[in-house]
Symmetry: C2
DNA sequence: ATAAACCCTGACATCCGTGTGAGGGTCAAA
DNA sequence: TTTGACCCTCACACGGATGTCAGGGTTTAT
């Protein structure tokens, strides 16, 4: 299949498919014209790439284990666990930070509402 | 005071102080040489700017109410509440998304650990 | 043969506060 | 006066996946 078909089949833009190739996540053979030609399995592969991207992994991390998870189950790929654990701890950190900011904002909003109430009361 | 002193007094880099000025958050008069000269109140102003930056507001949002909060209390500035509320809802959205990803990762990590246990058991 | 649809590479833009470096002027103490 | 510390503006880089445009070649159906 050509790049336009793969794009439609996966929802990834043509731009993105070329980018995944550049990052070593996807390969294609070429026609004499230079057109990329994809194996039908590429559809599943692109879906897998996008799944991991949606988990916040970057292309380098995905590249480190993609060849394995395409052949075997995720659980059988040595590389996967440390990447997931690293990502999880990053996310925990982000959630902690956002939660602090959230509390701070909530306090400030509450104070402002209080002031407004008192203003009216006068 | 000059920019280097203000930088030391506030912890903001000289680069950042110039940037705040460009964004309309900070003003300075100039010596004939072109050197910036700051009012002593600038120290408090820069601290205020950095406080709001740390809450995730951008320079444009801060600019929209900074002149007011430097004169009056936060609660008396009309502009503040809607900005805080907008930011809060963004943060809630971010936390929700991160929490989904977090659950997904935790599930996957647990599955992998399960597999490993079974592997050993054999 | 011609038009429409498809594909190619390369490169700039995005977000946005901050780091950094070039190239050059100013101030203060020795 | 010289030296070192300080200041100025301008401009590129970052992060990282994606959008988009330019300029040009290919395929396919009519």
């Amino acid at each position: 299949m050509r790049i336009g078909e793969l794009s439609k089949a996966t929802g990834a833009s043509i731009r993105s498919l070329r980018y995944y190739e550049k990052k070593g996540l996807l390969t294609a053979s070429r026609l004499e014209s230079g057109y990329r030609v994809y194996n039908p399995l590429a559809v599943e592969q692109v879906r897998t790439i996008r799944l991991y991207l949606s988990l916040g992994l970057n292309t380098e991390q995905i590249a480190s284990f993609l060849h394995c998870v395409m052949k075997s189950k995720e659980a059988f790929c040595e590389e996967v666990l440390p990447v997931f654990e690293k990502k999880l701890s990053e996310i925990d950190g982000q959630i902690r930070l956002l939660s602090e900011i959230r509390s701070n904002l909530i306090d400030r909003i509450a104070s402002i509402r209080e002031e407004k109430k008192e203003e009216k009361a006068q």
